[in-house]
């Protein structure tokens, strides 16, 4: 599974949780709104019910008062009621929510109509009586005395009680449902929030684990490679990072292979140079021998020209021998590593100076020369070549050599200066190349190997060598040498 896909899935899960949360909240709040609306409409139901009931009772008392007294003024609330009750009934019917309640209201309406019919007949006859009719007495005796109106009124009263009770009951239920909905909303929102936090945290940890730890593993690998150890890492997941790991491993292996090849080639090259120069020596020495025998045995028989040419051959043989010896020395440089030993640079310089510097030279060793553990034979060779060069080429009337040392964090910087003829800047690179000399060999016998060896040794210790020089103002060779050998 690719990381891209995993990241995408993680985000999709989070988004899904938020969408679910949104819709659930939406549903629950709709329920809350519905219940709240119902509770407020329920208030109106009860109020209307009371008004209706009150209007009917007032109609009844007005009607009774008129029957007893015969005064028409008592009928005023009765007529008022006839006008107000029907629209109130209509409104109330709309507000009621259940069919059961609607049935109760319908029965109230029916009872009221019956009562209005009954009361209306009595009121009419009473009015006629006032005008002289005897019909009222018959009706009064047949209906009022038998309490027909009272029965109707009692039933209306009961119906109103039932209606109110049912309304109160529904209201209680709705209120409980509202509370419940609010509670559910809270619980659901809280649990979804917690779930999304957990999902987010888990996926974060997962990605840290999967990506960061592997990336840092690869960073460590890259650092190790840059330090020259060509390691490979194990990474079995099949994703984009695995591609990177595979590339890094391939790179490391290729580097290792090339490095091995290069080391092998270098060794072969050194061996080649060694074998070639070693085998060249024998026939060359043979020629030199023959020349010296001719010189010893036959010099009196030779013409001046022949003798002169013979001496030229002898000179060239010596030069060739020197060059072969130089090449041998150059090829041998890093073949021998005896191991680091405590080296006293001051002591080492004194020995070299005794060996290479003739009397009459001004020698100045400036500063404290270190004593440290290193490959003595190699630093000795470097100093020895630089100091003998400083002597060999010095044409000053008062020749001087100055040697300094500067301590850095991981290496020393040594320098060897002379007051000789100096070197032009354009030759700075050339002098470190094997067999390169700046003077004609016939004028100045030199193999051109010394500085090449110096450079080879210093390169071997991953150091640097630089030269500062001006014609007629001497030269300064500075090189770095590691404090500890890896």
């Amino acid at each position: 599974m690719t990381i891209r896909f995993q990241l995408f899935t993680g985000f999709i899960i989070l988004i899904l949780i938020f969408v679910i949360d949104f819709f659930v909240n939406q549903g629950l709040s709709n329920q809350v709104i519905k219940n709240t609306t119902y509770i407020s409409s329920s208030e109106s139901v009860i109020r209307n019910s009371n008004i209706l009931h009150k209007d009917m009772i007032e109609m009844q008392s007005g009607y009774r008062g008129f029957l007893l007294t015969g005064q028409i003024a008592f009928l005023q609330p009765y007529y008022e009621g006839l006008r107000t009750v029907p629209p109130l009934m209509k409104e109330q019917r709309k507000l009621l929510s259940t069919p059961q309640q609607k049935y109760i209201l319908d029965s109230i309406n029916l009872l009221h109509s019956q009562w209005v019919e009954y009361s209306n007949s009595l009121i009419k006859s009473r009015l006629d009586t006032l005008a002289g009719s005897k019909k009222y007495i018959e009706l009064f005796n047949a209906k009022f005395r038998k309490q027909v109106g009272k029965h109707l009124n009692d039933r209306i009263h009961q119906a109103f009680l039932a209606l109110d009770n049912s309304e109160y009951k529904i209201r209680r239920e709705k209120r409980a449902a509202l509370q419940n909905a609010l509670y559910k909303t809270r619980v659901l929102t809280l649990s979804l929030t917690i779930t999304s936090i957990i999902v987010a945290l888990l996926s974060s940890f997962y990605f840290i684990q999967v990506i960061t730890s592997r990336i840092s593993k690869m960073v460590r690998q890259a650092q190790t490679i840059s330090n020259g150890q060509f390691v490979v890492i194990e990474d079995k997941k099949k994703d984009e990072l695995n591609q990177l790991a595979i590339s890094l491993n391939t790179m490391s292996e290729t580097l290792q292979k090339n490095f091995n090849d290069l080391t092998k080639k270098n060794t072969e090259l050194d061996q080649f140079a060694y074998v070639v120069s070693h085998d060249l020596k024998a026939p060359m020495r043979g020629i030199a021998n023959i020349i010296s025998w001719i010189e010893e045995d036959h010099s009196h028989e030779l013409s001046t020209d022949l003798y002169k040419n013979l001496m030229l051959i002898k000179g060239r043989t010596i030069r060739l021998e020197n060059m072969i010896n130089g090449l041998l020395e150059y090829a041998r440089v890093d073949k021998v590593r005896r191991g680091a030993e405590i080296t006293n640079i001051n002591q080492l310089l004194k020995e070299i100076i005794d060996l290479h510097v003739p009397p009459g030279y001004g020698i100045n060793i400036i500063g404290e020369m270190p004593v440290f553990k290193t490959e003595k034979i190699h630093i000795q060779q470097v100093f020895s070549n630089l100091i003998s060069n400083a002597v060999k080429y010095n044409n000053n009337q008062q020749p001087k050599i100055v040697i300094t040392c500067e301590e850095k964090k991981e290496h020393y910087i040594f320098s060897v200066s002379d007051n000789g003829p100096g070197i032009e800047e354009q030759y700075f690179d050339k002098i470190f190349v094997i067999f390169q000399t700046l003077q004609e060999r016939d004028a100045f016998e030199s193999t051109g190997v010394g500085l090449a060896i110096v450079k080879k040794i210093i390169d071997d210790y991953k150091g640097t060598i630089s030269i500062k020089s001006e014609p007629d103002h001497g030269s300064t060779f500075s090189f770095t040498w590691p404090k500890s050998i890896a």
Binding site: H278, R285, W293, V336
Partner: protein
């Protein structure tokens, strides 16, 4: 030593000449036998009809057929040849050649060209004193 004889084991004509001249220059007049490789030398030391008994062997390392180191290995097994002083005379300044021969009972390791007046080499002085006794 009155009956000193020298065996030079050397394949190169010029080197043979060179040794002859050096000996002559240093007034060493002992009898000098020359073998051009290890096989010939073994024959000369062991075959009855032309047997020689040298006191000193001057031995080159790089030779055809049998080189100096192989020669030394064979010589070691002959009890009768135990007292011969053997000096290596070679162009090889290699550590591994020195190491290989040091365990084979040699008396000295001398670099070519042989120069009996070279005071820097203890082995050369040892050879010179042996030849001029």
């Amino acid at each position: 030593m009155k009956h000193t004889e020298i065996l030079l084991v050397e394949d190169d004509y010029l080197d043979v000449e060179s040794v002859k001249r050096t000996l002559k220059k240093n007034n060493v007049s002992h009898k000098l036998h020359v073998a051009h490789n290890g096989v010939d030398a073994i024959e000369m030391l062991t075959k009855d009809e032309k047997r020689i008994i040298p006191n000193v062997i001057l031995l080159d390392i790089n030779m055809p057929k049998m080189n100096g180191i192989e020669f030394l290995g064979i010589i070691k097994s002959y009890y009768s040849l135990k007292n011969i002083q053997i000096f290596i005379i070679t162009t090889s300044a290699e550590e591994y050649d020195k190491m290989a021969t040091s365990n084979l009972g040699i008396s000295g390791y001398i670099l070519k060209p042989l120069d009996l007046k070279n005071k820097k080499s203890d082995d050369t002085e040892k050879l010179l004193s042996l030849l001029t006794q």
